[in-house]
Symmetry: C2
Subunit: 226 residues, 2 copies
């Protein structure tokens, strides 16, 4: 039997575990996160759980109400749009700088991602496409050298997991986003900074349109409270 996770180690572990549970649907928005239960199920001390919850609250993944505990935060479609607007301008910045500063290896990997993406869409390999998508955004940010933007983009993505899930599953979505991704790659690899910014903007504006479309056309209906 391993020792209970404590302090910095447990904090990181529990926070990651909760993030993962959210991604995989084990935790749903609104759900209560009871310190003792989490401590028990992850084999950590309550102190470690408390600190992990503080971290997640700073990332706006959970919401802590004093004396009432933590719950998984619900993100409205409106907020998801605002988050994506912020992502848009920050990724434009990164794309622009990446087009200017990316080194040979980074441009080569971008090109490789482009061809792999085409292949993935042609094969209907959804999860491979999703992984390439993630790596693409990551690589553009990395190539830009904009550490500050990188950190903030990470934070922005935190609460979005649920929406990424919903959007990626829309039929025909990969076929729609592929040319947008390829445009970003071409501009960055070709060193055309303004085109890179435009391509990133076009891509994220399209994501925003998708989010708008995913909002219920009949918003007056109130869902039942659990």
């Amino acid at each position: 039997m391993t020792d209970k996770l404590t302090g910095a180690a447990g904090r990181q572990y529990v926070a990651d575990a909760i993030r993962h549970a959210l991604r995989s649907g084990d935790l749903v928005p609104g759900q209560r996160l009871v310190e003792n239960d989490l401590a028990e199920s992850y084999g950590a001390t309550r102190g470690a759980v408390r600190e992990a919850l503080q971290d997640l609250a700073a990332e706006e993944i959970v919401e802590i109400i004093p004396r009432r505990g933590a719950r998984v935060r619900a993100v409205s479609v409106e907020e998801a749009i605002q988050i994506t607007e912020c992502r848009s301008v920050l990724e434009q910045l990164c794309a622009r700088k990446a087009a200017e500063r990316a080194d040979g290896e980074q441009r080569a990997e971008l090109s490789r991602i482009g061809t792999d993406m085409r292949q993935a869409v042609a094969d209907g390999a959804w999860d491979a496409y999703s992984a390439l998508n993630q790596r693409l955004h990551e690589l553009v940010v990395e190539a830009s050298g904009q550490e500050v933007a990188r950190r903030h983009l990470e934070r922005l993505n935190g609460p979005m997991v649920r929406f990424q899930f919903r959007l990626a599953l829309r039929p025909g979505r990969p076929a729609q986003s592929l040319p947008q991704h390829l445009a970003i790659i071409d501009a960055v690899v070709g060193g055309d900074a303004p085109a890179a910014a435009r391509a990133a903007a076009a891509h994220l504006d399209d994501v925003i349109d998708q989010l708008r479309a995913s909002a219920d056309p009949a918003p007056t209906r109130t869902p039942p409270r659990p």
Copy 2:
């Protein structure tokens, strides 16, 4: 004797106190922040101080090294530039949206700030100008309705206090920034979204130039003397 500050209240109070101490120069980058000392001098418990330090670390104002304590984080000029680049794109976004969505009262207050700023520069009232400047940026963000951008801009500004101080003191700086601020105001009040974004970009690009100038007084233009 008042009771010791504890929990949420003390946490907020201590964090604010440290932020203020940084602004006023009582704390300098690199300085150690010892939990017991802070608890004593602010009349809070060590627990409250610990939590406040966690918050400040999340804002990247202090740096916590495990088992070694917290120090005031030093921000390099390079990082200040990156921060300002991010501010630039986010404030462009807000300016654009503010031009579209600001209500009558907000436009009126913006106009008032414009005339007050002219007056302040004419009078040499530097601190009044600085306050107006802050209010201007705040109001544009508020009028944009972009809550997510607002939160991230707040975070971005945290580590910048020191540089704002240095830049604002440069002689002739207010006279230089005044027309840029007026351009932002005119565009937002006039409802010209693209112009608002351009004006915000121009202003912050100028701030970046100032930061660069403050970094190396002898850039590559002047070769080293033999």
